[in-house]
Amino acid sequence: MKKALLLAVVLGLTVLLSASLLRKKETVKTPSGCSFYYWKTSLSFDKAEKALADSLGLKRLYLRYFDVDWSPTLEMPVPVGKLDLGNNYNGSFNQVVAHIGDYQVIPTIYLVNRVFEKNINADTLAAQISRKIAGYNVDLSYQTADWGNNYERAEEPSVWYLPDSLMPYTQFQNRINEIQLDCDWTPKTRDRYFKFLKAMKKANPGMAISCTVRLHQFRDREQAGIPPADRGTLMCYNMAAPKDFATRDAVFDEALVNGYLKNGEYPLALEAALPLFSWGALFHENQFKGLAAGLSEKDVKGNPLFAPVSEGKYRFTQDTVFANAYMRQGDLVRLDEASPEEVAALAGQLSKIKAVKNISFFDWNPSRIREYHVHEICKKFGR
């Protein structure tokens, strides 16, 4: 409750400052350093995570702010699944969010492709999204500033009445110089989506607009088109349909990736995103029952609930409710994941493609980062 009134004062100040700060963006450059996606619904970046990020030399964090989906009720695109900033004020300001203040955050928005199946107005949507992002930037910057009893910064001069004590806040704002849009566009929605990308560029002067490029869009570029963006992120994962029982590994399949990357060069500067995630695809009598997020080899190996069948496939040994699905004895789980060796090899392969300027990882997961020796992959790739 302490400092409650300050909130109002500072928020007012924040709004005034933000407009001028946004005009002072750094020049858009090709990014360097190790980057990660932060794809959770609530933001919690604790001290240990910050230490890990610093040890990796993390510079940029693609932070999913919200998704955009179609609302059949309102008959318009709407923001959904907004990132919960944790309402950092809870009796005192916790520093969980403040820890991301030292990195460059790239607001990232996932747009469900069906939005572009509708007859939307690209300029209106771009304006709506840009405004929402700007609001989030302010909220997030505000939380990264050192308003509370931040014991780690106790010796820094006290804030709020001295202009330079707002530095953590202003620096954070100034570092936001890019917005990334993520959409699995199809030839059918391509034109509307590209028009929207252009509208985003227009609505955000001084900001780089990047977008994700899926492997099929990279390979089938003639049908998919080249997105009118400042740069792209090539998503080197999700290579096959997880629902398909015949899929070998939906997250990563070396044979498939070679096919996708055959036509190596691309007319857009790219960052390549590598997978640090996994799931178990659940099947009952060959019928897909759902995904068990995060399930990995180490979770099933030696677990009496599972018996190995073949590489990456396990059978349930008893009836159980697993990941909200009722799995019967004999049902199968297929582990979809890239091994640490595969991720390292993929990075090596990508380093040979000129268009790929940098690599990033999907998504922020401290235990996997350690397991996959991400710092070494970053170091090796270093461009």
Partner: protein, 798 residues
């Protein structure tokens, strides 16, 4: 001179325009109420109206409803698959999923991959079930519509538009539901349509239609969730308030998702009369339990009655945990935090200041005695419950409560017997609570200064630290435990351990911390004005110790001041005592640029400490470091002693420096870590607690005694009138800045118009210069002063 009068002191180190804590920020609760699970967490004891404002959305009513749907769908559909569609999916997402449909292989939309219930709904022949669900969810959506433009800021919501859209949507759904109700033949769906129409008739205040639907579809069958919800809605439409009260009590039991409404609308004053509607003792116990739940005071007599009516009343554990938490608040919150019993400030702020602290203290003492007696009564009752078999309170929980209550009474031996009876099969929450009990037991029964006890404490604190974020306010409860432990060590004279434990609990509001504190000061507050140089040395030694014990490792993991800050404090402690060589020795170990770059030193240790001037244009420059400044003081004193010709000048300079290091001086930050207006006038300036605590230090800081000792020596060493003029001027100046109005003067000032009050104060301030002006009119210093200070000239000019 103008600047002297304007009280233009440095800005206080305020992080806020005002400080207030809500009671829940600091209420002491050593018994985690979650020992009974989280089903009733909204109703745990709280200084606020409710502990949380969320109904239990995973309760038995929703579970039964999902099970009913799963049974209806058959084909291996599980209740959790139903829940995913029914409760975990917004209406729009369901509509999108339905429009995506299923692919050629019968695999459905991404959202419901593998969900057999969704597949069931997507079957052509089950269209009627899907239609019902879409209508029901649609009605829910329109009933709770918040915005028609989710892109707009919430304050820009067009509420009229939202209202009309909501009404339009509901009307549309209602008409479709009425139509379907008549058409549908499937009894499962028919009953559900009946329920929806019953709810609508409640909100339309159509009692006749409500009763007709209720009688036809729900009165006879009380088992399923729909009947329970129908009964809940009936409580809102029946005219008899006693019957409504009775129905609310039943609904509180049967409808977890409606409990907050039931709690809100239950009239505890009608509870006894509502008993007439009860058909058995179980129902009577529920009515009484809801009344007890609404009781913010002592509820033991009600609990006893409930126990006698129905030992299985599901609210008994909640009520006993509430009673224990109440007692902890009444007995311990003030004792531990000094903040009084937890309260919600907005409601009680006026009353708080109506009486003096002393008047309240008397009643606090009296009430504490009564609470102690009540604690024994509650404990006796729970001992009785623990001796019985069966009932709503499990044996483990009863033993835990008795043990906990005994520990509150500081009867460790009695507590031990019960706590040891807790079985290894106790719930995880009870097991977790045992760590707290063990820690309290160690404080109660063991010598906490012994190494083996410290090792045990380290283990327990580690355990508790790991679970503190698991429960709402768990962090607060953990800070309370560390603060209590800190206080125990302090009582035993172990300031070192007390300091570290204290800093583990820094986020807990206490009376001492109820101020405009900075993070820097929070870290050293415990030590400032309390610690000796030796204490600081001990802290530094522990921090540097290589092979720390587990307890020491725990201690030193607290938020701590840096080595520089500790050495600065050590030097400051010596400086305050005028042990200047010791001060230099400490200050010299601090990084050279520390005071130029860190904390507020950067802004407040900037002026020349050997020149008295409030004028910012004549600041001069502070020496290179605190150490250099103090060395200069030592040199001046030594030189004065060894060279009589320098005596007057050097003592005058020393006086000037100490005056600057006093409350009114520009270099006050040599002596204190904060500075605020009027802090010299009050024992405890509200929301400000940087002040010295001893009379000696107050005299030096606020009274500038040490400065005037030097000035007097300077004066005594010479007959030169100019020197006397300067010294006496500075005394008058200090008095004009430090005076406190007498009560008579206060009254006189307040009797004046507001615009005259400034002049009154100016007269008062200038009065201190009267004698000086008379005595030194002929001096050059007098002329200099009246020339540079126009106000002085106005009063005492030629």
């Amino acid at each position: 001179m103008i600047v002297f009068l304007g009280l233009l002191l440095p800005l206080p180190f305020a992080n806020a325009c005002g400080i207030s804590y809500i009671g829940e920020d600091y209420r002491v609760a050593l018994l985690n109420p979650y020992v009974i699970g989280d089903e009733y967490s909204a109703f745990f004891y709280s200084a606020e109206w409710l502990n949380s404002y969320e109904n239990d959305k995973k309760g038995g009513d929703r579970k039964r409803n999902c099970e009913a749907w799963a049974a209806y769908a058959g084909s291996g559909v599980t209740a959790s698959e139903v829940r995913a569609v029914l409760y975990d999916t917004p209406y729009d997402d369901l509509l999108n999923a339905v429009s995506e449909g299923v692919d050629a292989n019968g695999v459905n939309s991404q959202r419901f991959s593998g969900n057999a219930f969704f597949q069931f709904l997507m079957k052509k022949e089950k269209r009627a079930a899907l239609d019902y669900l879409l209508l029901a969810k649609g009605y829910e959506q329109f009933s709770s519509l918040e915005s028609t433009d989710p892109w707009a800021d919430y304050w820009a919501t067009d509420s009229e538009k939202v209202m009309s859209e909501s009404e339009r949507g509901k009307k549309d759904v209602k008409s479709k539901m009425n139509k379907q109700f008549k058409l549908v033949k499937d009894p499962f769906l028919k009953r559900r349509y009946a329920y929806q129409l019953l709810v609508m008739s409640r909100y339309d205040s159509n009692a006749e239609r409500f009763e007709q639907l209720y009688a036809e579809h729900f009165r006879a069958d009380k088992k399923d969730a729909l009947s329970a919800w129908a009964t809940f809605h009936r409580a809102a439409i029946v005219e008899d308030s006693l019957e409504a009260n009775y129905l609310l009590a039943l609904s509180f039991r049967d409808c977890p998702e409606k409990r907050i409404y039931c709690y809100q609308h239950f009239k505890k004053d009608l509870a006894i009369r509502s008993l007439a509607y009860c058909k058995n003792n179980e129902e009577k116990a529920m009515v009484m339990a809801l009344a007890a739940l609404r009781n913010p005071g002592r509820a033991l007599s009600q609990i006893e009655e409930i126990q006698s009516l129905d030992v299985n009343c599901p609210l008994l554990p909640l009520l006993l945990v509430r009673e224990t938490n109440k007692l902890e608040d009444w007995l311990l919150t003030d004792e531990v935090t000094g903040m009084g019993t937890a309260f919600y400030p907005e409601e009680n702020m006026d009353e708080k200041w109506e009486w003096s602290t002393d008047q309240w203290a008397e009643y606090r003492k009296l009430n504490k005695q009564k609470d102690g007696q009540y604690l024994a009564q509650v404990r006796q009752f729970v001992v009785g419950v623990a001796s019985q078999k069966g009932g709503a309170l499990s044996g483990d929980l009863a033993n835990l409560l008795v043990g906990h209550l005994f520990l509150m009474e500081k009867k460790g031996k009695d507590a031990e017997k019960y706590l040891q009876s807790i079985s290894i099969k106790a719930t995880p929450q009870v097991t977790e609570q045992q760590a707290t009990e063990q820690l309290l037991m160690l404080m109660n029964k063991s010598d906490i200064t012994r190494p083996e006890v410290k090792a045990e404490l380290a283990e327990l604190l580690g355990k508790l630290g790991k679970i503190k974020d698991k429960y709402r306010r768990g962090d607060r409860d953990f800070w309370v435990i560390t603060l209590i432990l800190s206080q125990e060590y302090q009582q035993k004279g172990d300031l070192l351990t007390a300091f570290f434990l204290h800093n583990h609990s820094l986020e807990l509001p206490t009376f001492q911390r109820n101020d405009y504190g900075t993070a820097y000061y929070e870290l050293i507050r415990f030590l400032d004005w309390t610690a000796t140089e030796k204490d600081i040395d001990n802290i530094l030694a522990l921090l540097e110790k290589k092979d720390k014990t587990a307890f020491e490792r725990y201690l030193t993991a607290a938020p701590l001041p840096s080595r520089n800050a500790l050495l600065d404090l050590r030097g400051t402690i010596s400086f305050r005592k005028n042990d200047l060589p010791a001060a230099v020795s400490a200050f010299e170990k601090v990084d050279k640029d520390f005071w130029k770059t860190k904390y507020e030193f950067r802004y407040h240790l900037v002026s020349d400490p050997f020149t008295v001037s409030r004028d910012s244009l004549k600041r001069g420059v502070f020496p290179a470091s605190k150490a250099e400044f103090v060395k200069r003081l030592i040199d001046l004193e030594n030189e004065a002693k060894s060279n009589p010709s320098k005596l007057t000048n050097n003592y005058f300079m020393l006086g000037t420096a100490w005056l600057n290091c006093s409350y009114v001086g520009k270099t006050w930050m040599m002596f204190s870590y904060g500075n605020s207006v009027m802090e010299n006038e009050m024992e405890r300036w509200f929301n400000y607690s940087y002040q010295p605590t001893s009379k000696e230090m107050k005299d030096i800081y606020y009274g500038a005694n040490r400065a005037f000792e030097y000035f007097d020596k300077a004066k005594a060493s010479t007959k030169e009138k100019e020197v006397h003029a300067k010294v006496d001027y500075l005394r008058a100046w200090h008095q004009s800045l430090s005076y406190k109005l007498t009560q008579a003067e206060e009254d006189e000032m307040h009797s004046l118009d507001w615009d005259k009050q400034g002049a009154f104060l100016l007269d008062k301030e200038m009065s201190y210069f009267r004698e000086w002006a008379k005595a030194y009119k002929s001096t050059g210093y007098y002329k200099d002063r009246v020339t540079t200070c126009p106000v002085l000239a106005t009063y005492y000019g030629e």
